[in-house]
Structure formats: structure tokens, C-alpha cells
Symmetry: C2
């Protein structure tokens, strides 16, 4: 079964195609903005999900304070488009990046993060180039074992180091609590706050993170802002985390059944070069097919999605165009140079994924 | 420890960066060309690995008969660059693709494949547009359970259907035997061949596939050509398959250690948006770090590679630039718009990944 819209998408663009429903995008933007406001924190959406200046501007127009970027290259694209309040939530290192950071400071108000002294020692080179202080927040590891200082004592020491370094100013703390770790995060933050205050410093930015953490937004006493990303599109992970429903999933991948090759099998023209091998933290299968929810996208070749239809009562035919909610939308968007925008059953146009592949 | 070349790459391009050693690329091209010639089959390299017309032309200059593309969009890029013998090893469906295939036929000699009647029924639309017959090979499933007709009887029936369809001509058979399944493939092919001959048809193209299958190249009696792809760069999968050594790996990902965050841990600036979540068929870890082979790239966030250093005697420092042999190079190349070319310790320039993201 191919919906009328799917037939139009296939006719005008071919498959596989990434399609975003702008009505849902706008609803998601409004809903999370309202949730942040109700929780008393600013919204600083993470643009790594959509990588589009137009969508970032829609988020800001809806009330977001600014944006979050994971990579300097993303921030450059956003600043070029006129966005002027950017948090780069990533340790930046090396002369090449310092020169670019200095240039970026001429275009936007930028805050960066650091979790170690090597990063702090490098940042003054950007300040020397721009003639502006670099605002630096301390990234704190509150349980994810990703980046971040591991103890309040380290956070305090690094904050003091930042404040004592010519060309840098201490901005505050960036945290990314685990979904069950908000009490620990509070303890970490309270200790770090007391320590920096004892050193005469005051954080102006206290940032918490994550769309799956929307259910905890505002829980950290002292937080000034939250950094949700995935909420603009949502995906199977968000639904599994209980922060979105299927009707909140604004992006679907349209793919064609190109082969059946056996009664219990089928092949989609979307493989790991479209949907990616990201399991979404261990979800079963590589996406949900809306037309055949019992079908399983069992595995991938680069351009083949292998359908297991053994549990499926309805079987697609060769030529059917189906819609797939991906496991993890952020990595899927990053595969394509543009997405197709629709409203209801109408195609609106295409939107460049302008910061696609800006991995440095 | 950062090598002098790695320091230069970081200074000139920043990290993460994909770097190809052109001496190794040339050696790999020559070695596989010689192996095909020794086995008495033509070489039709699969360009899905490099997606670069320049490298495709180097393969042809070394003696390759033509190229293989997985997607129509890849073939369009290659034909635009002047390559004129192209096998598209994929079922093509839908009016949008038929119009493009017709246009492509004006620029290059194209052969496509089909494994079902729906695909065969659609292809005459391309012929009607181009005024040229479309050459169609029957894709046969010889054990991989991907696309392909499952029995010789189906192959014969589809070949007859192709030959009987106005605008189409029967080209032959495309097979992709499993590494241990060459006897079965031979049996399949022999039966199919006898069947089409009985119908007055003669295959001109009998194509086997895969770089891991280079150890079996020429084994199928009757094969006219082989379609190796990954061999131009190689990767951990190829080494694990026993068809390449580490010195044959021509592409490495240069990444910076941006955080240590604990004595047994570390963070690379290359995550799933650079190295992808492809496990390379179940390899342990997400790539081999040449400077720290005992270190494990244990998991990913989108822009973070999580290092597990518990088994590693040597520990990288923040700021170190390391080189990673990826699990599956074909999907990693597809993440970037360009790669950096080097010879020995010298940077030669950059090479566009011209067909990157051409997924339709």
C-alpha cells in the first residue's frame, strides 16, 4: 500500500527520501518551548538534529534563547546565517580550530566548554585573534561517562583556572544528567557552585541537556537553560523513552520495496547508507514501518534494508513505497543534503541540511 | 603520540579527517587488477567504496573493463565525468528513476539488473525515452538472502521475460556467492545457463562480486567479470576476511583525543557521525587505533568516540592525534564531502567524494 503522498514523493524526488511534516515540526517546537517556559528555564535547542538555520530560526522565533552546536563547523554555518547566541558543547583543541573560533567570535556571541586544562590552555589563542574574551563553561560528567570533569573539586579547580587565564571568562556549568541521576547531579552542582562562589565566581549559564530529559526539565535547582535536540523531529528512541508519541514523529524515511525474494522476506532501497546502523540504544530492528508495524528491518547492506516478514500479516508488494520512523533521527538526517517538507498531503519544497557532515 | 603527518593534517584541515595514502591506493588497484587478469576475468570495480570519478578512472586506466554502481545517482556522477561502461547492480523502479535511466543511456553504456517481473515491466519506459535498448542482467541469490531470484528456474523465466520484452535485451547473470558457496553458485549458474541456452539466449555478462571474494576470483566457470569494491581502501573487515593486511589499508581516520575523563577512559572527536555504527559484521570495537591497538573504541555518541583503555599499556594524552582503521570503510567514506590525499608523509591535496550521499 502506497499513500497518495508517498506516490507524489516517489514521483517528484524518488526514494529513499527523508520527509518532514512541517505541521508536526511546528507543534514540536511549540510544545517543548512551552515546557521549558513552564519549568522556568530557557530553551537552547541543540541543532545537531536538524542542522538547518531555517529551523534554528523558527526555534528562536518561538522563544529559544539561542542554540547549541556540537561542532565548530555547525556553529559556523549557523553564525553565517545570522544566529548570534551559540553554545558549542564540545572541547575544542588545536590551532586550526582556535583560528576558526576567533573568526567565529566576530560574527556571534559564542560560549564554549572545557573539561580539562589542555583545552583551557589553548583557548586564549582564539581570544588573541578576535580581541574578545572567550566565555568558557565547565563540562561536568554527572553519570554518562562521556566528557566532563568527574568531581565537583575538579569542576571548581577548572573554573578557577578559566577565570585566572587571560582572554577567558568563566561562564558556568554544562551538565547532562542521566535520566535517573538528577539527585546526584544536584549534589554535584551544589558543591561546585559553593566552591566557585567561595572563589568569588558566579555562573551565569547552568545548562542541562537532552530531549529524553524533557520529563526532568527544570528539576535541577539553579539551572538556567536546557538543551533539547531530538524533539523537533522525534524518533523511535524518543518514543521508547516516553517523551514522544508516534504522532509527534515529524520525520519519516520514504523507501521503496524493490524485491521480495522469498515469501517471508523483502528488500527496501534504504540500507545503512540511509538509515544508518545506529540501534537507538538497542532497539529491535532498524526502524518502524508505519504501513507494516509487524515487519522487522532485520539488517542492512549499504543500500539494502532486509525485511523479515515472518510476524507480519500484511506483506508489501514490489513497488510499494513505505514510511519508516528511524531509530535515531539525528544520524539519519546527517546522511542527506536535503529533506522534503510537506504539510498534510501537500509537498511544500525542500530544505537543505546546511550543516550536514560538518564534523570538525 | 602524534606523528608528524598527523600534526600537519590537524594543522591544515583539523580533525576528524579522512586521509588516503595514494601509494597504497595505487598498489591496491594494481594488485587486484593483476589478480583478476591472472584468474581470467575482467575487473569491474564497485565505486560505492570511493564514490570518486578520479579513482574510478585510475581503476579503468589500470585495466578495469568498466565500473559497478549500486545506485542510479552514483552512475549519473560517474557518467557525467566521462565513464562510459557502467553496471548498476540494483533493481530500479518507478517513473522518476526510469526517466533518469533513459537520460543516462545517452551518456554511457549502462547495464542494469532485475530480480522480479515488476522491475522488468518498468524498464521499457527508460528505453522509450532514450531510444536505446536497456541491457538487463538477472540478479541471482546464491546464498546471501539479499536480492536475487532464488532458483535457476526463476532465473530462466526472468531471462526469457527480459528477452521477450520490447526495449530490453538479456545481458546475463549477476551473482554474489557467499565465501563458502561457490560450488552451489556453480550449480545454480550451470542450470540457469543451460535453461537460457535452451531458449536461444546467451549471456554476455556473468558477474561475480565482492572484495572478500577475491580469494575465489575466477572460481566460477563461465564468469566473465568480478566486482570488487572495498579493496581500493581496505578496512578491518577486509583484514578479518584474510584478503588484506594492515599495510594494505589505505584510508585512516585522523581523530583527536579531546578528553581523558578518568584513567581508563578517553574521548575521541570522532563518533557515529564520522565512523558510523557499522560493526563490520560483529567486530569488537569501532575501529583499530594504530597508535594504541589495545585501546577499544567501545561505543559512540554522535560526535564522541568512547575509549576503553583498560587493556592498553600506552595511554594517549589530550591533544594527541591518532589514526583509526575503520571497521567498514565504504560507509565511513560516505560521511564526508572530501578526503585528504597523502603520499608518505606529504599532503598532496583533497579529493571530493563526488557521489557521496547519492542514495537514489
Amino acid at each position: 500500500m502506497t499513500t497518495p503522498l508517498a506516490a507524489k514523493i516517489a514521483r517528484d524526488y524518488g526514494t529513499p527520501a527523508l520527509v518532514i511534516d512541517m505541521d508536526r515540526v511546528e507543534r514540536n517546537i511549540a510544545r517543548i518551548q512551552a515546557a521549558c517556559e513552564a519549568a522556568g528555564v530557557a530553551n537552547r535547542p541543540h541543532i545537531k538534529t536538524h542542522k538547518s538555520p531555517m529551523l534554528a530560526k523558527m526555534q528562536i522565533a518561538a522563544g529559544a534563547r539561542g542554540i547549541t552546536c556540537q561542532k565548530l563547523g555547525e556553529a559556523e554555518v549557523m553564525a553565517e546565517a545570522g544566529i548570534d547566541d551559540i553554545l558549542i558543547s564540545y572541547n575544542l583543541l588545536g590551532d586550526e580550530k582556535m583560528a576558526r573560533l576567533g573568526a567565529l567570535q566576530a560574527k556571534a556571541n559564542v560560549t564554549v566548554v572545557a573539561d580539562n586544562s589542555v583545552v583551557v590552555a589553548g583557548l586564549p589563542k582564539a581570544a588573541a585573534q578576535s580581541g574578545r574574551e572567550v566565555c568558557v563553561a565547565v563540562e561536568c560528567d554527572t553519570g554518562r561517562k562521556r566528557a566532563g570533569v568527574e568531581t565537583p573539586a575538579e569542576a571548581i579547580a577548572l573554573a578557577r583556572e578559566i577565570a585566572a587565564t587571560k582572554g577567558l571568562s568563566f561562564a558556568g556549568f554544562m551538565l547532562y544528567p542521566t535520566e535517573s541521576g538528577w539527585l546526584e547531579a544536584q549534589k554535584f552542582y551544589d558543591e561546585a557552585l559553593a566552591g566557585v562562589r567561595a572563589a568569588g565566581l558566579e555562573p551565569t549559564l547552568v545548562s542541562t541537556g537532552g530531549s529524553p530529559n524533557m520529563k526532568n526539565v527544570g528539576k535541577l535547582k539553579g539551572a538556567t537553560e536546557h538543551r533539547p535536540g531530538t524533539y523537533i523531529y522525534n524518533d523511535r528512541m524518543q518514543v521508547a523513552a516516553g517523551v514522544a508519541g508516534w504522532d509527534d514523529c515529524a520525520l519519516t524515511v520514504y523507501a521503496t520495496v524493490v524485491s521480495r525474494a522469498g515469501p517471508d522476506r523483502g528488500i527496501l532501497d534504504a540500507g545503512s547508507k540511509t538509515l544508518t546502523s545506529d540501534t537507538g540504544g538497542g532497539l529491535e530492528g532498524h526502524g518502524l514501518i508505519l504501513e507494516h508495524p509487524e515487519a522487522r528491518i532485520a539488517r542492512f547492506a549499504e543500500e539494502h534494508g532486509f525485511l523479515d516478514l515472518t510476524r507480519s500479516n500484511t506483506r508489501p508488494s514490489v513497488g510499494d513505497v513505505v514510511r519508516i520512523v528511524p531509530n535515531h533521527v539525528c544520524v539519519v538526517v546527517n546522511m542527506v543534503d536535503e529533506v522534503v517538507m510537506v504539510r498534510g498531503d501537500e509537498i511544500v519544497g525542500t530544505l537543505p541540511v546546511a550543516a550536514r557532515g560538518r564534523l570538525r
